[in-house]
Symmetry: C2
Subunit: 162 residues, 2 copies
DNA sequence: CTAGTATTCGTAGGCGCCTACGCAAATGTC
DNA sequence: GACATTTGCGTAGGCGCCTACGAATACTAG
């Protein structure tokens, strides 16, 4: 057996830990990439920054919905980006509860620097996906399966049947 | 397009976020399961507890290696388990640097209660895996591919080629 | 035996995300 | 117009994991 023994052997209850470890490894390597290229970029910025490039501007709530994370997380990312001078925000004149976020000049410059790196990510992801027998397709199916019935429901059913 | 649009469309740099979200969903549902069944159990205990069942006892370093996490994380989990009265620990008489961890009576009782739930997890995971077109096999291949060449190396290669 | 090195575990603080909760602005109801 | 409800965003604190660093014990040369 190889070094993935534990993850591969420990059964269903360990799958969460396995995915977490995988995502943390990806994040850690991403951080190394940005550091190696001398670009000051935090991993958590990606989603928001990427969306701002696409949409031009967006509110906290819109970003949360699109990125499928909480508005709290978006709010924290906004603060981080704002502190770093990459975005600015202003209250919507029509609805003062909403806060619109947009790129600054520095933010646009950063994004421009990031484009080739993100392209490299895409390329590497395609390679890896091919080597892994289209793991992305499997993840899509997994997401769909979880939409049909949550893990919670599935487990409670199994427990009930015992 | 469905609600996974963003993750599915945002390319390679978002795959980490996607996996993180997936693992967090799994963890969250697991917490709900234990809560619904009235069992006081923390998700991070799983790896250590599971290994102690298998091995009887183990040191911090051994657990870290087997679980493929840092000794720091194991140390923190040990403290949590010890505080909850599920394990005890003692220094190895032969090598006083090592700390041996073992289940208490309460810990063994907890593990006994958990067995049917972990079995349900296994069952649910098998179902899900079947629905997702053997996502576990793909993850195994992905781990193998990353062993061959890290994400970091792959991306730096791509960046260099541009 | 002693000095330097390696091993083992711990604390401090950070990551990106989360839930719980609070506040202010907008909306609906009477 | 007054009041409750809903909506949008924020703070506080927690999750499981991490890196950086430090302390104590064991090992290795000379």
């Amino acid at each position: 057996m190889n070094q993935q023994d534990y993850s591969r052997a420990a059964g269903g209850a360990a799958i969460g830990a396995r995915l977490r470890r995988l995502s943390e490894n990806l994040d850690a390597d991403s951080v190394r990439v940005y550091a190696a290229l001398g670009i000051s970029f935090e991993q958590r910025w990606f989603g928001v920054l990427n969306q701002l490039v696409i949409k031009g501007s967006a509110t906290v709530g819109e970003l949360a919905t699109t990125l499928r994370i909480t508005h709290v997380s978006v709010s924290q990312t906004r603060q981080s980006l704002e502190k770093a001078g990459m975005v600015t925000s202003e209250f919507d004149p029509v609805d003062a509860r909403k806060k619109k976020i947009m790129l600054t000049a520095a933010g646009k410059k950063l994004v421009a620097e990031l484009q080739p790196i993100w392209a490299a990510f895409d390329q590497a992801a395609l390679e890896l996906n091919a080597e892994a027998g289209d793991v992305v397709a499997s993840l899509n199916k997994l997401d769909d399966a979880l939409d049909r019935q949550s893990i919670f429901d599935r487990i409670m059913n199994c427990v009930g049947k015992q």
